[in-house]
């Protein structure tokens, strides 16, 4: 993020590979671990983050010239909190069941470091278009990681993906994968695998 003028193409590449939030920057861990016991909540979470990320990036980019250095974090958080409230009310109105499953993890998007990090690193320095593109692809990258993690855990924990059974009849579910243990260890191994791939390349 050293160069201040990034292009939309950089944003696309960054979001999908070089700076995938969870895997490369170790940001946004809490929702990643908490909602990935099954694919559906993970997808909902990913899309909510996508929405908040795009909206907050656009707003921050609009007011980037008015920001005072010592107040900017507060302004970021307030902007984000507003959009998270919108997302939370939307989920509660249209998918009450899902909203119950996700519980306090929807409002916790406010303190998801990814969003603040993008506001700081990208939106407060770039124009609206680049910021919006950055938000979209960062959000997509985040959603993809969540879904991969959730599919691994759901398959091993109950033998289904999105409630569709995929494993053979005699498969014995690993109850531990549903629990916090499964989340920590799966993510740890996933990070190790990504490190392994990058090390090989270079």
């Amino acid at each position: 993020m050293a160069n201040n003028t990034m292009t939309a193409l950089d944003a696309v590449k960054g979001g999908l590979w070089t700076e995938v939030p969870v895997l490369r920057l170790i940001l946004g861990m809490c929702p990643t671990l908490a909602v990935t016991a099954a694919v559906k909540p993970a997808l909902t979470m990913g899309l909510s983050v996508l929405f908040v990320l795009v909206c907050s990036n656009i707003v921050v980019s609009l007011m980037r010239n008015l920001l005072k250095p010592h107040l900017r974090i507060l302004m970021f958080t307030l902007t984000i909190a507003t959009f998270v409230t919108i997302a939370d009310l939307f989920l509660r109105a249209f998918t009450p069941q899902m909203s119950e499953v996700l519980g306090p993890y929807v409002p916790l998007i406010i303190v998801n470091c990814i969003i603040i990090a993008r506001a700081e690193a990208c939106a407060s320095k770039n124009g609206i278009f680049v910021s919006a593109v950055d938000g979209i692809f960062m959000g997509i990258g985040f959603t993809i990681v969540l879904c991969i993690l959730a599919s691994i855990r759901e398959v091993l924990a109950v033998g289904t993906i999105c409630d569709i059974p995929v494993m053979w009849e005699s498969f014995v579910p690993w109850a531990a994968m549903r629990m916090p243990v499964g989340a920590f260890i799966t993510l740890g191994l996933m990070l190790g695998f990504v490190n392994f791939l990058t090390a090989k390349k270079s």
Binding site: C30, L78, T85, P104, G188
Partner: protein, 196 residues
């Protein structure tokens, strides 16, 4: 006597059985980021305990005295985050004045307490669990801080030992910390069901 008993149970429950880090995945970022050395982990735990106690009680008061009677629940998240940011600012100024070395060693992590999910998470959980007595909210907030300190100190102790062991190269850093955290969680699962 009954009241004291309930408060004591709430405290034990939030410190050990429902530990925010191990069962609710809250506060993972500092848990992974600052747990490299024991003294720093302890300092971080103390700072978080202070902020979380302040934030937990204040948000309970604001929720019950201002937001609910006036039907302003929509603004709840915005209010919570403002209270937390204010409390963090307070701690930051206090540390800079009275404990400059500790302040220096925290660096970026101090302002990051604002975005520590454990704090906002606890405020939300107090609201979600429908805690209706002020004393219980205060005990829960303080207990959550103690639980966080416990978790981060255990982790720091393990990581100090871990730096002497031979970890596969691609697992160094965050991955091995996560796996260790997973095994720790397994240990804490033994307490599950001890208290409702």
């Amino acid at each position: 006597m009954d009241k004291v008993y309930i408060l004591l149970m709430a405290f034990i429950s939030i410190v050990i059985v429902n530990n925010l880090v191990f069962t609710k995945f809250l506060g993972i970022c500092p848990y992974l980021g600052v747990s490299g050395r024991l003294d720093m982990a302890f300092g971080m735990g103390m700072a978080v305990t202070f902020v979380i106690t302040l934030a937990g009680t204040l948000t309970w008061l604001i929720d019950n005295m201002i937001l609910m009677p006036h039907g302003l629940e929509v603004t709840r998240y915005v209010c919570y985050i403002l209270v937390i940011a204010g409390a963090v600012q307070l701690v930051e100024m206090y540390l800079r004045k009275f404990f400059p070395p500790l302040y220096e060693s925290f660096g970026i992590f101090l302002p990051l307490i604002t975005t520590n999910c454990a704090i906002l998470g606890l405020c939300l959980f107090i609201n979600l669990w429908g805690i209706d007595s002020f004393a219980e909210a205060a005990v829960l907030s303080f207990g959550a801080g103690v639980g966080f300190t416990l978790a981060i100190c255990i982790m720091a102790g393990i990581r100090e030992q871990l730096s002497f062991s031979d970890v596969p190269e691609c697992l160094c850093g965050a991955p091995i910390t996560l796996i260790t955290a997973g095994i720790l969680t397994l240990a804490f699962m033994g307490f599950a069901g001890m208290i409702k």
